[in-house]
């Protein structure tokens, strides 16, 4: 048995260790790998929120890419005026991220209000329609710059670090730190009282309501929390790629986020991290392998991209049917059974309710 304070401390220690490890890794990795690390961190922000939303409250959102896009546009629309006003460096990044939080939070709040009233397939359909409408929205709203999207001011390495770290490494640091700021609160929510409420609403809404929990508030809250994290992810991606365009946040990307959380294990933050690594590295590995085989260019063009989607779709089906807990549960159970084997047994209190 652990107390809430112990659980909180464990979450904080774990996230600090992971952040330090990731920052340390940037010194070992080459520049392209650092770029990939930054992308993984950005996607991790979104998947961590999505895994809470789908795994804990049972709301299937197919439109999480739109929340990331909202964060990206929020960043771009705040950072550009700041750049004109002469604000530079870390201050500009923080300002942009604030814009990302505001816009993504607003969109997520609206979606959450809708989500609180809708059941399973209806919410999924609504978010699907939203992703499909994103290119049209970006064309109709002049500030969003249509299909080309909006440019984002370039963030160079600060003078204090000049010569010590490369530009890709600096971007990776920014991404990892923002991911830590985005995911740690989600992990605290998950292990705390709010997480318990979310599970209660998911298991039986009527029973939860009888126990004094407002399902509407819990569901909207989960959506907003996920949207804020996804917005930060979108903001980071905007810093790294220096552009926000609707083409980058299409339905395929939205489904990729879903693949990440399902394959990693619904409801598990570690699973979301594994999933984020998977959706960034696997397509790259497959494309590299396909290119290395040396097929005719027409066939190679057909295979590129499609093979990864095929593998992801098959993974999605296989994990749901065979391994409903995802990788984190399957591996976690193995590790747990190993550690308990070598640990002296303690007297277990009679706690039937603790799961």
């Amino acid at each position: 048995m652990t107390t809430p304070a112990q659980r909180r401390r464990a979450v904080l220690v774990r996230s600090a260790v992971c952040t330090l490890l990731a920052v340390g890794a940037t010194f070992v990795l080459d520049s392209y790998a650092n770029y990939q690390l930054a992308t993984i961190a950005a996607i991790f922000c979104a998947t961590a929120g999505l895994t809470l939303l789908v795994g804990l409250t049972g709301q299937l959102s197919l439109g999480h890419a739109v929340l990331m896009a909202a964060g990206g546009y929020g960043y771009a629309l705040t950072a550009a005026p700041l750049a004109d006003a002469g604000v530079e460096g870390v201050l500009r990044i923080l300002g942009g991220l604030l814009g990302a939080l505001l816009l993504a939070g607003a969109v997520g709040g609206l979606l959450g209000l809708a989500g609180a009233r809708l059941r399973g397939p209806y919410l999924a359909g609504l978010t699907l329609a939203l992703v499909i409408a994103l290119p049209a929205i970006s064309t109709q709203v002049p500030a969003l710059g249509g299909a080309q999207g909006v440019g984002v001011p370039f963030e160079g390495v600060p003078d204090a670090l000049g010569g010590v770290v490369s530009i890709e490494q600096w971007h990776a640091w920014v991404a990892v730190l923002v991911a830590a700021l985005a995911v740690t609160p989600l992990a605290l929510v998950r292990s705390g009282r709010s997480g318990l409420r979310m599970r209660a609403v998911h298991d039986d809404e009527t029973a939860a309501r009888l126990a004094g929990i407002s399902p509407a508030r819990v569901k909207t809250g989960a959506f907003v929390a996920g949207a804020l994290a996804a917005g930060l992810g979108g903001g980071v991606l905007a810093v790294v790629t220096q552009n926000v365009s609707p083409g980058a946040y299409d339905l395929a990307f939205s489904l990729l986020l879903l693949v990440a959380v399902v394959v990693g294990g619904l409801g598990s933050i570690g699973g979301a991290a594994v999933g984020a690594v998977l959706v960034v590295l696997l397509p790259w590995l497959i494309d590299t392998a396909v290119a290395a085989v040396g097929l005719p260019s027409e066939l190679e063009q057909r295979l590129s991209g499609n093979v990864a989607v095929l593998v992801f779709g098959a993974l999605l089906i296989a994990v749901t049917v065979v391994w409903p807990g995802g990788l984190s549960h399957a591996l976690g159970d193995r590790i747990r059974s190993l550690t308990t084997r070598f640990r002296p047994s303690r007297t277990v209190p009679q706690q039937l309710t603790e799961r």
Partner: protein, 292 residues
Amino acid sequence: MDRIAFLLATGLARGLVIALFALSLVIIWRAARIVNFAQAAMAVVAVFVAFAVTALTDSFWLGLVAALVAGAVVGYAVERWLIRLVPARTPLPGMIVAIGLVMVLQAGIGIAFGPQHRPMAAPFSEQPFTVGGVPVLSPYDLFVLLVALGVVGGLALLFNGTTLGLQMRASAMAPEVSRLLGVRVPRMVTLGWMLSAAVASLAVLLLVPTELGLNAHSGDVLFVHAFTVAVLGGLDSPVGALVGGIVVGVLISLVTGFLGAGLAPIAVLALLTLVLLVRPGGIFAVKEARTA
């Protein structure tokens, strides 16, 4: 005035195809109480078979039959070998598996046939008749209208007038009781899937000649529109799907004609949001369970 008449007629023709696809969503909802997110991808697979048959035999009608048969086979295969393995206690695993199926099917088609659009010829002229100087429906639109009405009529007859339809509705509403009364519930669910996939294939087959052509993503937007229609009309009501389809088709046509094509997806999204906010389960929805 002429413009409005033309836009209304175009909207009607477009809406009928959407209505037909929405009908397939209604069938599967009536038979199995699920929304099948893989419907469009499954239908596109069947239409690729039809395309091959038409290319081989040079006959649109054989292609049409092939689409129906292939659709039913795909529906059978997906239900028997995939959906049955999925735990059905909550709708979430089913939806996730359907999305995985979409990815597999679309990527598979992309690998096999490449990204280009394959044009498909319509069996009738697409030149509209003119009535009093105003271009209205084309012969092809009339054909689509007749097919849609025929399918709606046939389904109404099947679901309300035959023992098979009664058994299908019963096994969807109360599987346990139906089984006690001697209905083969799994067989009814499989039949529902086959019927639904066949109707969806028909809708995509009728859509393709009016669009750019056939590729892996031909059905995507149709699915979003049909989902909107199914929600608008209520997932339980074939007539609602027909009326909703025409409403959405005319709305898209009017918005495209007067405000520009870019606004059409936003108009559909706005309509869907509005309906879902006013009636979260759809306009004609029946309450499924009591809540506190």
